[in-house]
Assembly symmetry: D2
Homo-oligomer: 440 residues x 4
Amino acid sequence: MKMYFQEINKISYEGAESNNPLAFKYYDAERMVAGKKMKEHLRFALSYWHTLTGNGTDPFGQPTMERGYNELKGMALSRARVDAAFEFMTKLGIEYFCFHDLDIAPEGDSLQEKLENLDVIVALIKEKMKETGIKCLWGTTNAFGHPRFMHGAATSPNADVFAFAAAQVKKAMEITLSLGGENYVFWGGREGYETLLNTDIALENDNLARFLGMARDYAKKIGFKGQLLIEPKPKEPTKHQYDFDTMTVLGFLRKYNLSQDFKLNIEANHATLAGHTFQHELALARVNGMLGSIDANQGDMLLGWDTDQFPTNIYDATLCMYEVLKNGGIAPGGLNFDAKVRRGSFKPDDLFISYIVGMDTFAKGLLVADRLLTDGVLEDFVAGRYSSYMVGIGKKIVEGTTDLEELAEYALKHDTIELQSGRQEMLEDIVNRYIYGKCE
Amino acid sequence: MKMYFQEINKISYEGAESNNPLAFKYYDAERMVAGKKMKEHLRFALSYWHTLTGNGTDPFGQPTMERGYNELKGMALSRARVDAAFEFMTKLGIEYFCFHDLDIAPEGDSLQEKLENLDVIVALIKEKMKETGIKCLWGTTNAFGHPRFMHGAATSPNADVFAFAAAQVKKAMEITLSLGGENYVFWGGREGYETLLNTDIALENDNLARFLGMARDYAKKIGFKGQLLIEPKPKEPTKHQYDFDTMTVLGFLRKYNLSQDFKLNIEANHATLAGHTFQHELALARVNGMLGSIDANQGDMLLGWDTDQFPTNIYDATLCMYEVLKNGGIAPGGLNFDAKVRRGSFKPDDLFISYIVGMDTFAKGLLVADRLLTDGVLEDFVAGRYSSYMVGIGKKIVEGTTDLEELAEYALKHDTIELQSGRQEMLEDIVNRYIYGKCE
Amino acid sequence: MKMYFQEINKISYEGAESNNPLAFKYYDAERMVAGKKMKEHLRFALSYWHTLTGNGTDPFGQPTMERGYNELKGMALSRARVDAAFEFMTKLGIEYFCFHDLDIAPEGDSLQEKLENLDVIVALIKEKMKETGIKCLWGTTNAFGHPRFMHGAATSPNADVFAFAAAQVKKAMEITLSLGGENYVFWGGREGYETLLNTDIALENDNLARFLGMARDYAKKIGFKGQLLIEPKPKEPTKHQYDFDTMTVLGFLRKYNLSQDFKLNIEANHATLAGHTFQHELALARVNGMLGSIDANQGDMLLGWDTDQFPTNIYDATLCMYEVLKNGGIAPGGLNFDAKVRRGSFKPDDLFISYIVGMDTFAKGLLVADRLLTDGVLEDFVAGRYSSYMVGIGKKIVEGTTDLEELAEYALKHDTIELQSGRQEMLEDIVNRYIYGKCE
Amino acid sequence: MKMYFQEINKISYEGAESNNPLAFKYYDAERMVAGKKMKEHLRFALSYWHTLTGNGTDPFGQPTMERGYNELKGMALSRARVDAAFEFMTKLGIEYFCFHDLDIAPEGDSLQEKLENLDVIVALIKEKMKETGIKCLWGTTNAFGHPRFMHGAATSPNADVFAFAAAQVKKAMEITLSLGGENYVFWGGREGYETLLNTDIALENDNLARFLGMARDYAKKIGFKGQLLIEPKPKEPTKHQYDFDTMTVLGFLRKYNLSQDFKLNIEANHATLAGHTFQHELALARVNGMLGSIDANQGDMLLGWDTDQFPTNIYDATLCMYEVLKNGGIAPGGLNFDAKVRRGSFKPDDLFISYIVGMDTFAKGLLVADRLLTDGVLEDFVAGRYSSYMVGIGKKIVEGTTDLEELAEYALKHDTIELQSGRQEMLEDIVNRYIYGKCE
């Protein structure tokens, strides 16, 4: 078998003092944290699209990435990428991968050929999985790249396109099931609009719900037990994506009675494009019982498009893992690096370094979050802050045993109210100090 | 009775050729459009807060507005403002007003005194309403200005604050009812958070739902038949407002089984702060059967705060009225000018000019929208675009009589799909030409 | 000669009442406005890149555009595009074109081959120009698409890349000269940075200035008499582009004593990405004597990337032409449609419709702007507003014959100041009414 | 003398392990770093406006701050604030303060009274300075709050307003001189525009330059030796502020030959509002030799207004101090906390905690930056990256001894170029690891 990263050895944990860019400083897969192994908390996954098929193009430039399979085409290229993917994961100790159908096999000249291409590569991937023990976190379909999807897939104004997308989802679900995938993801590619002047948003939203309903039915029928996940994104490629953010998707799912069947796959960079912090989206998903999985990347807060950078911001990683721990873990979801190396980080070792940096950032974040929770420094403050709802009139409010009249009467007698400080600055400093090292 | 705008006469309609800044060029209240009078379509309302109590302060500057009642204080000031408000509305031919409790009467030293102050002024307003025939579009309470609400009202961490807010809503509802108000509005002042580090968002959202539920119950109990409206806003004053946008509010209402009892009051500038167009928010509310009323203003697309400018953008006004006409009208809601004169437009006649400009913009927008709909230039294009859902496989999709397997089989046979152009540029041009004058 | 738009006839002016999407409603090339022909005011130019080489790809999708030369490759494709370009311009009555070297001829395997490819196509273009009378508005080089430019061209950390870019500019200038181009444009492709952590901004800025200085010297040497233009853009593709906006470029040029040799090419969508209005950038360039040419397109104010839409916003077009008229015209620059049809407007006639829409929008904008200026409705207001600088202490300020001490003494005697209203709302309404039709 | 923070003792350094919110964990004033005391590097200054006169109002709410002098008015209030300010600084060990004239003394009914009020308080402040050894970092005037400045000060359309502002600057400079202030700051309050429709930007910019020129002349005349500083801000309060960002100001200063006389005061939150990082603005000022002083705060990257939060982001603090160290220090400027406690952090001890948090963040940032520089981990990478400009063709480029022709010839022979990776992810990780603790 051809090696694509021959010059890179298996990456090992060397500890915080190491200066080796090709070693972990914080991610120690077997280290126990809060009763579980680090790797069980983090459940890192490779993103097949950015990692294997990403080539460094951008709207203003050609491919830049130096990859060993650059000269190949068609099925030969797809085969080579399978080898490269498993070599890469094995060397990094990553135990999961995620993929779109189109990432792993070429389009083909007909739908039939497309499906056949997939079968060939899926068989190959299965072998590799058996060989390495690596698992499939989730699969999905690419129903946005081909010109037929220019106006949407499930929300296309053309019913034949809807049908084509349905065929793709059917196949992608079957593949995901056959690979033992623990989740199936719906990212709304071009499910949105470019201008309201040409759009019937009522029909498009209804059709999207119909599509998801049929997909759920089919998942049940074939015995797929994994989570079905919707991934919110506010814009790009379309001007407005229907799955704008967590709350939008929750409203949509509730309207169409789909909220029992779907959870959310939250992406950091999609959160910020929607005007929210990463933690905001995670927290809202969590408290609504809908946190399914995570796309761990980061955006540039001064840029208005999805930059999908490898996550290096320790604040975001810490607060993400804080939400994950409060959620009781992320399984059967995981942390997928939906991240691409910068276009100028075009060497093969940049790919390793970037994954290492991302994994270390989240490992450190996990340590900080665990220590914050263990020490209760934030939780205790919050509990005290809301304690008035545990007794008296507050308790009646929470229990639903009062009404406007009783409250008004109460207020007339208690109209001088002593408030507590919100202490934002003090709390931000606490997080800082745990990051600086109080957690080791 | 003292006159506050003595130098201004009743504003009349002079037609498009007039250059008189103190005349209407498009708003002709009694003109029939699409079977109704212009004024019935538009149902313009004065915003008591910006118009009467707005003084031109901003975070960097002191009051600038020249108003005849500037020297007054307390109840005398409140009385003067009632006179000024009704003089202003009468001169402009505006038939509705909207208000917060705190706009019309001073706070007082105790809750009791606050309530008594309100009673005095409400009696005065009632007289004026009888005298002039002017009506109340909606009332609300200000539960965000006083320091007690610094951490929220229904979402305050302090139960006594929740009770105080409840007392305010109770009173404001009673007042609105007694004034014949056709709607009651909930704008989530500080119902949101500054930092997640000190916030229990699960409890806060639950409490917000409890609060709204109690308010609805009380409305029913006292026989208030008007619409209860929630007004989305994404941020400001808090970093994150829970009523972020239309879809967020719909999701919230559905979660807590409140969606039968509340509709939405959509504000133009809040839409853009949330990353949406004004039309987007209106359209989503409309197709979900939740369009209740409108705050007609505009923001500056390059500024990140609520500028509440008088609406002069004809595109937004046209597309707003397009949605209103498709909604079958906005009643019992209306178009409230939640707009303030620029800080440098500090003269009394600027207030008139700004309302005239806003009313003319929407009157022109109504004319354009009506003509677009009458001619069917957009609707016919859209109908044709989605026609594949009227027959064959499309019809089955819409009727819910197909599934992934049938669709996949269909797709295998129909994998060469002919698409139509979306024609965005052509449609934008059509709107332009109707604005330029095809509608008169 | 092959025709690429056989089904489209020459586009003619049919007047405002026409509903023919393939006719001009406002652009009447020979119509006299303010003493010049419309076409002399507007000097429309075709953008070779979007119009001929744009294929509808975006970061999430494959090409969509239906073009008659889609099957061709290499030099054959380049030749076909020349035919298509001149057919297109002739049919639209567009008299200028703009191009990058890479738009017209393929890259080649070596720099030598690249240069030879260019010579072949340039000869072909010259013939076409002679045949049709169409002229070259400006030329430029693409020093951002090839991987060698991943870290910049003139600001590359690699001196060989700097040299390569120099070779390209040399050739592109020679070509532009030989085609009689009236301007040469520098758009700073990747002249910027992705992260300050790896960037020497002092050296990069110095090198950029050195590069521009050498280019100016070479232009002089070969006898190029046209304008040298820098096109500001704040971000994209790099995180930060050095030519951020008009004021940034002016500061840069002044620092390196280049401000006598360069003017600006202002792009609408770049203005808004920098947080400015289109008019703002035009006005600042104008009052600094630096307005050279215009890229006429529009962005989506809610999206954070360069959407390069065909301009349909009449406000922007009007205020642009207002600045152009105040500038005494835009020649030897022009209005280049740096705009691409939406990805879903993929039919050949969409290309015509979109140009027509853009040309009509600017033609209407010209008519409105001319009438505003002729009537002096804005200018007179502004003149009156600043009249205090024509006399007394104001005159001394402007003439530089006073100082802080005299002013302070004056102020002590004149500390009660009467201000005038800024009348923003009234002025916005005036613009509206001129747009609605006061100008025909 | 009345104590305003009686319950708070002098704040001392307790080290990183302390959990005492009223102690420093990193800021150890006398600790030597890179050859200087920490306090000499950081030169922290109190912001009189936020700290003493800030009361917690926002556009939607009333004052919230609990302060011991809340009941006072007029000169009594101003005197009390002097006591409070010096008590506060003494307890925190802050050795500098900054102020606007209006922060320290009330407006008065006439300009004369205003000047007299200032004299009284300035005398009081001088005593306190003598008593405590605390120094004045900079003074300025508030020429934006009073209604007379609604349309600008130096850029007002009214010459009398220009004169009034001149009188204020004259006095504020005299006061700053008499207090031994080391800098005088110009923040362009309302020097900008709300709409171009009513604005003569050419005259306004010329007048701004005239104003600054006169101020410089007067500074020289009275013997003020400190730095004159301009503080860029892009928007707020006006839609567009003329001092948009560093590069805009540099361009302006160069145009009017003022660049020898002024430097820049960079504010973190103003940088982000302009679409830049804090480090970007600092770096550009530094490499242009214009870095004068710093307003150390932070904004919320998801909010579009100036939130002026206390700085807690360690990335920004580190990269700020990195620029300061590379600048050879910030003296005679300093780090002014132009920051306000959150509106909900309304207790007196929140004020201390917030300053402590800010000071600790920058102290930690200094330590990290010093270690990064000492180890050369970033600098060495950058030096290597640009090394091609030290030899051969690169050297000729930098020395200005080549031209386009030679470069083109060179390029023809060197058209296969080997590039290095930009290594962004690796470098971001290095910064992280220095933050986590490699520096102690």
